[in-house]
Amino acid sequence: MILEALTLMVVAVPHESPEHAAPAAAEASEVSGIEVPASEAWRAERPKVGEPKPPRLPKYEQVELSNGLTIIVAELDTLPVMSFSLVTKGGAMLDPKGGAGLASITYEMIGESTAKLSALEFSDAIADLGASFSSDGSRDRGSVSISGLSRNADGMLELLAAAALTPRFDPADFERVKNQRLASLIRRRGSPQGLAFEQVPALIYGAEHPYGHPPTGSVDSVKTLTLDQAKAFFERTMSPKHSALLAAGSLSVDEVKALAEKHLGAWKRDVEPLPTVPAAAPKKREKLIFLDKPGSPQTMTIIGRPLFERGHPDEAALTLANDVYGGAFSSRLNMNLREDKAITYGAGSQAAFRLGTGVFLAYSAIRADATALGLKEIFAELEGMSTKPPTEEEVGRARDALIKSLSGTFERSGAIASAASTIFVYGLPLDYYDKITAKYDAADLESVRAAAKKYFDPSVMQVLMVGDSAVVAMELQKLGLGDLEVETP
């Protein structure tokens, strides 16, 4: 049953934390509808709560198989379920020039026919176990994942190994997968958001950069891809030395290791070391890119810039500054565009860290006739990060939000396995999440303000919009943020 089919939420995207000063006294009501009893004056005081319990984070254990495969396990005492994920370093960052989408298509072929099972038989074998399977090639990694009941762990790992180690690369499967992908890419160009996110990577990184394309590729690039390319990509990247099995659920590390030895122990392949991702530098904005979609009632608006490599010393300070700017419901950006101007359903931002240069993005779907006002305010808030630097209170709230929500983000085995994947791919210590609190504590007000000044520089923010140019072009030109370059997608 679908209970959520027609459900509307107050927040479109779940966020993390805070906004600027101006503590709010309730405005006087025009007509008091309900009396607040005088005897309950205590309600005016926010409750004083006790000491927090220590957060309970997953305890990761790491072992290695004789073939060099890393295994990271979090044993949980919740339901009798298991999530397994075989993650391999490399991904869309390795796509060849002109061949954007190769990693993604290759991983899609994993999960089609295997050496022993046809694509249909494989799908039925998963369903018979009541398991769920997915395979995905993203920027820095590829993942082959399966989850289900713990008592089927043996069967699940057998299927995972069959898919990941012995894909058949059947020509008929490839044609089907490729045509399916092309159809999805054409469809995506119909959605304002899909169109925008297709174009953003090249705008931020430049089309030649390994991160300069969407991992799914484009219609033009996917058309050129061949089965031989996918096979070669598989041979070149899939190796136990570059991979890890991540497991979260009711099985212990010894139990997982024994099953892994059985199904993945004989896996051998040596591959070349991974290339490093070249750095991408911010550049001055020269124009506003506007993709024309006549009749749009809103303008999908995205701004962004490249950041720095994962592990950079500014990571924590920038994360806190981003929470102040747009990373939370109560952030400056959302409170301005949504709760004050009422020209959007939501505005937000994120700072994403990758193996190579990461990215800052801010976004909002703005009412068409208020597009210029919206973009002006997005930029005013960027300026504000220097002219009205984050306050002690704002930064304190952001820090609290990030630290105190830790336990809550590790409730489900899927999230726990996924965090282990991040640990492996980026070479982080096993206790990374235990120590993250100290990292945020160490980022003091000075360093957050320095990051705010450095990384929210309006002059290097690239701008991409999807909307009706006839409605908004004139006003946008007047902002002086750059010449409008209208393209017909």
Partner: protein, 458 residues
């Protein structure tokens, strides 16, 4: 990430109590009934309280349901239940303006949201367990005193925000207006579902402060709400806090649930729709099904899995695997208080046609009548359905979590303790049931809507 693992047999765990003896070892896989242990009671003012204790994680989830939804809307005020939900996040007198989210974010809240659908409105948050009192303070202030700090300015802003939400989720979203048209056809005026929860631009704009006050007094009375607390708390302490914050709130008696008969589809309806946003054609076919938790609902759910959802499901195999007509295809059953909907959606690939897609759907359904679901197909459908319920129970709050499960069963069935019953209702479905419900519901009285992208000739 969406997951659908499965197999009904679940071991008991500390969190999910056992009705049968079962083992407490999560590694065992013996069949045992799953339950969510809880205690339910009512305050003097009629507020229902449900407590589910699980102390393993230092977290507590609070979920507040008001038994009011789009079903309670009146002519000219479509979208009002949802607009009102937005007003619940505005200043309440002791908490202040813009503080609700700010406080919850600062204390480490996760799974934080409010949602409205056809039948109910809910508000939920998960916080570190020592902050339970803060959440009860926040929730009780808006339940008790929202109107004391209500302003015209706040209403005007939220009218604007909700109109933007309509633009984003309906008018400027692929197939958003097509879906709305289908809902309007399935629930013709004056049925309250006609407005698709979001409502029309005009009706959203027409809302007044008096509407807000009246709605609050009628539906946001403690007697019309249910509070679930799930997670790490001491029972006696939690009860005392609930009494302190909610016990003195007053309000009207519980309003009667509105009894709206499910509209019948009297004849086959076909609609050609000009799609303004998307690039590919889409067909949806919808049939009237039974209302929430009525007989046949489980069988229709399972039938939808036989038709679509895995590579070898009947329709997916034909239109995605073999003939490659579809960019995407889904079949699903939606349960609502006033008439459910069984629906098939298919987005057509470039170069293929709506006519081919429709013919394929009709042929697959006819083929299913001739060659009924096999035991293996039924089993896979049951596995998938059951594990989607069970995997949700991994979390205390949020979408599909334990607090929501308790609320769903309480709202629709008047008994929060129905999770085992719910699993059983899927387990007991037979192949004959699938054959019977297909014949009974998937008949020629359906609504077919065919969307052709603007500017593209079919």
């Amino acid at each position: 990430m969406k997951r659908t693992p499965s197999l009904l047999a679940l071991a008991c765990t500390a969190a999910l109590g056992c009705k049968t003896t079962g083992t407490m070892d999560p590694k065992a896989g013996d069949a045992a009934e799953v339950s969510i242990p809880h205690e339910m009671y009512e305050l003097d003012n009629g507020l229902e309280v449900i407590l589910h204790q699980d102390t393993r994680l230092p977290l507590v989830a609070v979920s507040t349901w008001y038994h009011v939804g789009a079903i309670d809307e009146v002519e000219g005020r479509s979208g009002f239940a949802h607009l009102f939900e937005h007003m619940m996040f505005q200043a309440s007198p002791h908490v202040g303006e813009d503080q609700f989210f700010r406080i919850l974010e600062q204390i480490g809240g996760t799974s934080l949201n409010g949602t409205t659908n056809f039948d109910r409105t809910n508000y939920f948050e998960t916080v570190p367990s020592h902050e339970l009192e803060t959440v009860l303070w926040l929730e009780s202030d808006r339940m008790g005193f929202l109107l004391a700090s209500l302003t015209k300015k706040a209403l005007d802003v939220q009218i604007g925000v909700v109109q933007n939400e309509r633009r984003q989720s309906v008018e400027n979203r692929e197939y958003g207006l097509m879906d709305e048209k289908l809902t309007q056809t399935l629930y013709p005026k004056p049925h309250p579902y006609y407005g698709s929860v979001i409502g029309s631009m005009e009706d959203i704009a027409a809302a007044t402060l008096d509407d807000v006050r009246e709605f609050f007094r009628t539906y946001y009375t403690p007697a019309n709400a249910t509070l679930v607390i799930a997670g790490d708390f001491e029972t006696a302490e939690a009860k005392a806090l609930v009494q302190k914050y909610f016990g003195t709130l007053t309000g009207k008696p519980k309003p009667p649930r509105r009894d709206v008969p499910a509209p019948k589809i009297e004849e086959a309806i076909r609609i050609d729709f000009e799609e303004p946003v998307a690039k590919l054609p889409k067909i949806s076919i919808a049939w009237r099904g039974p209302s929430s938790y009525e007989e046949d609902t489980a069988a229709l759910d399972l039938l939808s899995h036989v038709i679509s959802g895995t590579r070898s499901a009947r329709l997916d195999k034909r239109v995605s695997h073999d003939e490659q007509i579809a960019q995407s295809v889904t079949a699903y059953f939606q349960e609502h208080t006033s008439g459910g909907v069984f629906q098939i959606d298919l987005v057509v690939r470039p170069g293929r046609t709506l006519a081919e897609a429709e013919a394929a759907i009709r042929e697959v359904l006819a083929g299913l009548e001739k060659n009924p679901p096999t035991a293996a197909e039924l089993k896979r459908a049951q596995n998938s359905q059951e594990t989607s319920i069970v995997r949700g129970l991994e979390q205390l709050g949020g979408f599909g979590g334990r607090a929501e499960r308790l609320q769903v069963y309480n709202h629709y069935l008047g008994d929060p303790g129905r999770v085992a019953w719910d699993l059983e209702r899927y387990r007991s479905v037979t192949i004959d049931d699938l054959k019977r419900v297909q014949k009974k519901y998937l008949n020629d009285k359906s609504v077919t809507i065919l969307a052709t992208p603007k500017g593209a000739a079919e």
